[in-house]
Subunit: 199 residues, 2 copies
């Protein structure tokens, strides 16, 4: 088997990315080989430039290219509400709804003692400090609806309750557009428990 080192190197670099297996990595490398040099340079530069230009906001921990981030510095946002999420992607997803007008706090992970992620690894003390004082009235715990997310939310609830803020969590229930038949039992049970009167 004759391997071509520069191709092998690119394939291996692609294969380190999440969700990209060896076959996909090979396909991507050969695709790029056939592209104009400008296209290839644009991808390489965009990757390099991103990490150089982006850092984490010192207030909320979200990704930003200004300090503090545009959400933290905005006078259009409700300073009395903080939505706590696990990662920056969750901020993007929530922003897309165009419903939430408060601030965020990005934990950069979820408690997972089995894999060595403890309180010190997350931006939890930073959150506690933000909630102390009179500005914040509500903290929305929007960690992921899985074991680690629930563990994290439970811990945060115990930490924040003494501070006298209103603590809420995102509703659990049937996904909109989903089919009752395909809902798992846990989701369906939560949807029943959380049933609401028709208005």
């Amino acid at each position: 088997m004759h391997t071509i080192e520069p191709i092998t190197r690119a394939v291996e670099a692609f294969a380190t990315l999440p969700g990209i297996g060896p076959k996909t990595a090979q396909r991507l490398a050969f695709y790029l080989l056939r592209q104009p040099a400008d296209t290839v340079r644009e991808l390489a530069e965009a990757i390099l430039n991103m990490q150089a230009a982006v850092h984490f906001c010192s207030v909320c921990g979200n990704v930003t290219d200004v300090e503090p981030c545009n959400i933290c510095r905005s006078d259009q946002r409700d300073q009395s509400t903080i939505c706590v999420v696990e990662d920056p992607l969750a901020v993007i997803t929530l922003e897309r709804t165009r419903i939430y007008k408060g601030l965020y706090h990005v934990l950069h992970g979820a408690l997972d003692p089995l894999h060595g992620v403890t309180v010190e690894d997350l931006k939890i003390e930073e959150l506690v400090r933000r909630v102390q004082g009179d500005t914040v009235k509500e903290v929305i715990l929007a960690t992921n609806p899985n074991v680690e997310g629930d563990t994290t939310a439970g811990y945060l609830e115990r930490r924040l309750a003494p501070l006298g803020v209103h603590i809420t969590r995102l509703a659990r229930g049937l996904p909109v557009g989903g089919d009752l038949e395909y809902a798992d039992e846990v989701t369906l049970a939560r949807a029943l428990e959380g049933r609401r009167p028709t208005t």
Copy 2:
């Protein structure tokens, strides 16, 4: 929605790659943000370096970083047999079998008149020139087993037949490890037509 330009640029660059949708592109960009600078630089450099270092072999059209490529220049390979494939990925796949010991010819596509791919767009004249002369005894047509590949193989058969070489095609039949129940009718029909006596 607050967008961060350097991230948007990286997401858009990833999304131009085949099989990478907007969601995957976003996931890749945020994954890279969390990686050490060295990892990110390695990916960017591998991408840039690949296109700079790799070109197409002037003899067979396969990708290579030497001229002619390692297969064309090897004295271990049977110079009298040429296996014709559509793209460099097919060469890698065939080499992996470790059975084929001849040379290759990469067409860089398949005839597809509906999408404007004609004889002039493929490395067909180069193949004809290679087959002329006394060295080549057999040409294996290993184009993809679909309409475009079959059209291309049919055309090549007509072009090469007058040159007096032995022309063969890869066998069609049931994939090894597959289940008869799941074979489509066309494949099954080919498997029946091509049935061979047990030895």
